[in-house]
């Protein structure tokens, strides 16, 4: 944060103390960066935990550097922490809260969110939830060890999960975090409805904003049942009720319904903003209009609706009625249609464009390629018949990571490298960016392609030490390969961190619109001052008018009046 303070001090329009300006700010950009940095710090925790338990899987029973010998209980806690941190404290805050807060007012051409103090409260609750989760490392029994899905009775009874305090703190942290995102979502939707710049009609809103708003709607519609379930689970843990205990007339599968009713739409809650980021980056760097803008929006709406009818595909082996399994197989296979459609639209956007392979563009292209693998392997898991074989194997895990890694990291890197000049007023280093890109992408595939094979070969997910299963010994080489891939992936991340911090101070000064892009955030100075725009913009056209015939420039910003076709955008800033 102090780095950001330094870069801002030069402007010095509003002299406020550090605490007021960066910790208690109601400015959407500061709150966005707070979410971003908190999410990045939490990613270090998520990355460290996966390092420890992957080392245990590759070299069972040996000392792991920086940790020591891993016990079975620790293994469970590490896996649980990795899953919950990466989804709830990295993907959600970075993709929705950080990009949403930073981009929505800038791209809609207004000075701040509609409810700035609610926005600040949202971040404070989120920070509190992160601190509670971290605190669970220091309570007796350690952090929660009942997996991020928290199925009862494992999660409800301390006799099974062996983490009496960790389980409760985990639940409280998750529930608080959801309240934080609820407040954020209300802000996002209300701002997008009521604060757009004059002239900006619904179909002039950039795709990424559409996606974040849709994701917020999906989140708000799906999170209620999970909060209800979390309260019930909390009562089961601490007050001796039996909501999920069959001995007292409760139903453990009920939790799975409540959890996945939220849990599956949640996939789309993070996927949609990622797709939005990719759309912005792709159009800018193919210098071409987004193919089928409205179709993208209608497809996203369709995906959002269908996402509420697929949840029980997580429960094909949980004893649900086979007729119900049949229904959910059909809905699950149907939802791949709009997603496939979107992939084709993005590829059609590239077709015939004059593509520039900048770092953000490489990330955006990698997103399409890697997410496609995740999507295609999902077909085997969505069909109830094959899922009975694949369920709870490393095949599921690899599939899941081929969807979530592109979402949470590849799209985030695309967004960060693309909007970095706007956030900090300086360019990131392209050479380091490309080294980091190739190191990350190749290593990522080295991790997870072997895990598809181990999963198909019979590796169950929740095994602490495979040396106890001699019939699976032939897969050990692939497990080691995956762990080596992970070590390489981790080894490439300091390059990004160095590039990020170094460019904040010493990068080339960016100017208002370094990528020659159309959307309104590029009309504001970089970094935008408090209030964003020296003169509030007026919108005259859609966001993707690139390479318009008969114009000198190959881009046509949304805020440039139509009567002066030769006017470059720089003079606006």
């Amino acid at each position: 944060m102090s780095a950001h303070a330094a870069s801002h001090a030069e402007h010095g329009h509003h002299e406020q103390g550090f605490v007021r300006k960066y910790l208690l700010s109601t400015d959407h950009k500061v709150i966005g960066l707070q979410y971003l940095f908190t999410g990045m710090l939490m990613a270090l925790i998520g990355g460290f935990t996966v390092y420890v338990f992957r080392m245990q899987l590759a070299f069972p029973g040996e000392e792991v550097p920086l940790w020591g010998r891993v016990t079975a209980a620790q293994y469970n806690a590490l896996v649980t922490t990795h899953g919950s941190v990466m989804i709830f404290w990295v993907a959600m805050p970075v993709l929705i809260a950080a990009f949403g807060n930073f981009l929505i007012p800038l791209m809609l051409g207004c000075d701040d969110m509609v409810f700035p103090r609610l926005n600040r409260l949202s971040y404070q609750l989120f920070l509190l939830s992160a601190l509670i989760l971290i605190a669970s490392f220091f309570v007796p029994g350690g952090p929660f060890g009942g997996a991020w899905t928290a199925y009862p009775p494992l999660s409800a009874d301390p006799a099974y999960n062996a983490t009496p305090w960790g389980a409760t703190l985990w639940l409280i942290a998750v529930a608080l975090e959801f309240v934080a995102f609820l407040l954020g979502g209300i802000n996002f939707i209300t701002t997008a409805m009521n604060s757009r710049a004059p002239g900006m009609k619904m179909f002039d809103v950039p795709i990424v904003i559409w996606m974040i708003v849709l994701a917020s709607l999906v989140f708000m519609a799906s999170v209620g049942p999970l909060i209800a379930g979390a309260i019930m689970l909390l009562f089961d843990q601490r007050f001796g009720t039996g909501f999920f205990n069959p001995a007292t007339g409760g139903d453990p599968v009920l939790w799975q319904h409540l959890f996945w009713f939220f849990g599956h739409p949640e996939v789309y809650v993070v996927l949609l903003p990622a797709l939005g980021i990719v759309a912005e980056v792709m159009t800018t760097f193919s210098r071409k209009k987004l193919f089928a803008y409205r179709t993208v929006i209608f497809t996203a709406i369709a995906t959002s609706i269908i996402s509420f009818f697929v949840w029980a595909h997580h429960q094909f082996v949980a004893g649900i009625d086979p007729r119900m399994a049949g229904l959910f197989t059909v809905t699950t296979l149907i939802i791949s249609v709009p997603i496939a459609e979107m992939m084709f639209i993005y590829i059609a956007t590239l077709y015939g464009g004059s593509i520039r392979f900048t770092t953000p563009m490489l990330w955006a292209l990698a997103f399409i390629a890697e997410f496609l693998i995740g999507g295609v392997t999902g077909i085997y898991l969505g069909a109830a018949g094959s899922d009975v074989y694949f369920h709870d194997t490393y095949f599921v895990l690899a599939h899941f990571h081929y969807t979530f890694f592109p979402i949470a990291f590849i799209a985030t890197f695309a967004g960060l490298t693309y909007w970095f000049p706007k956030m900090f007023g300086r360019m990131m280093d392209e050479r380091l960016g490309k080294i980091h890109f190739w190191g990350t992408i190749i290593a990522f595939n080295v991790i997870f392609i072997p895990l598809f094979l181990t999963g198909a070969g019979g590796d169950h997910r929740r095994i602490f030490d495979y040396s106890l299963f001699p019939e699976l010994a032939g897969l050990q080489g692939l497990r080691v390969l995956a762990t080596i891939g992970l070590l390489v992936l981790i080894a490439f991340q300091p390059i990004f961190i160095y590039n990020f911090i170094n460019s904040m101070f010493r990068g080339k000064v960016a100017g208002a619109n370094p990528w020659r892009a159309n959307t309104l955030e590029w009309a504001a100075p970089s970094p935008p001052p408090h209030g964003n725009f020296p003169e509030m913009p007026v919108v005259y056209r859609g966001p993707y008018e690139y390479s318009v015939e008969g114009r000198d420039e190959d881009y046509w910003p949304q805020h440039v009046p139509p009567d002066d076709p030769k006017r470059p955008a720089e003079q606006v800033a």
């Binding site: 509609v114 409810f115 609610l118 609820l182 979502g185 209300i186 802000n187 939707i189 209300t190 409805m193 009521n194 757009r196 004059p198 002239g199 708000m220 519609a221 799906s222 999170v223 209620g224 049942p225 999970l226 909060i227 209800a228 379930g229 309260i231 019930m232 009562f235 007050f239 001796g240 009720t241 039996g242 909501f243 007292t248 007339g249 409760g250 139903d251 009920l254 319904h257 409540l258 009713f261 007026v538 919108v539 005259y540 056209r541 859609g542 318009v548 015939e549 139509p562 009567d563």
Partner: protein, 194 residues
């Protein structure tokens, strides 16, 4: 290539004021929250063995007394509509009286419900002794908590109205939340008490 529009674009007017829109979104999330609770209750009841689904000691939920409490709550909602109309017509003093009446009726509902809880607890119905009891306290208690928050909001609105400093947005926002609390109650009543 679609041509951009020429001339000054029209100024934007919010179709729904931001405060009310924000509250409506919050209420939508709350509806899903209660839907989660009520469907959990329904599913558990449908799957429970017939004899397991009862309160200990042959106690039955006080549906008749609660019917009276429910009428008090509904009346509070109606009186708040009256307050809304009077406020729209600018009759602040009359509106303040109706607002106060709605607040008191709402508070009476919560207190009457509390008295019922006291009776049930004294007869040994707790969250631990049966899953039906656990669901009863969870769902009705969650509703009561919402009602209490909304009553504080209405009380503050009344206080500010009396001092002539009630922003319309504040009133509409508090009002929206109270209508939600009133409207969700019959659903809870007919699902849980019978």
């Amino acid at each position: 290539m679609p041509m951009a529009l020429v001339g000054e674009p029209p100024k934007r007017r919010a179709a729904v004021p931001s405060g009310v829109l924000g509250m409506l979104l919050f209420v939508a999330a709350e509806v899903m929250f209660f839907a989660g609770l009520i469907s959990a209750f329904t599913i558990t009841r449908a799957g429970a063995p017939p004899l397991a689904w009862s309160l200990p000691g042959g106690v039955v939920l006080p549906a008749v007394e609660t019917a009276f409490n429910s009428i008090v709550l509904m009346m509070s909602g109606v009186v708040l509509v009256v307050a809304h109309w009077r406020l729209r017509r600018g009759e602040d003093a009359k509106a303040a009286r109706a607002l106060l009446a709605a607040t008191i009726l709402g508070a009476a509902f919560v207190l009457l419900q509390g008295r019922e809880w006291w009776g049930l607890l004294s007869r040994g119905v707790t969250m631990q002794t049966s899953t039906l009891g656990a669901f009863f306290y969870l769902i009705v208690g969650t509703h009561a908590l919402h009602a209490a928050c909304a009553i504080v909001g209405l009380g503050v609105a009344w206080w500010r109205l009396r001092r002539g400093a009630l922003p319309a947005g504040f009133f509409y926002t508090a009002e929206t939340f109270w209508y939600f609390v009133v409207a969700i109650w019959p659903v809870i009543y007919f699902r849980v008490y019978f």
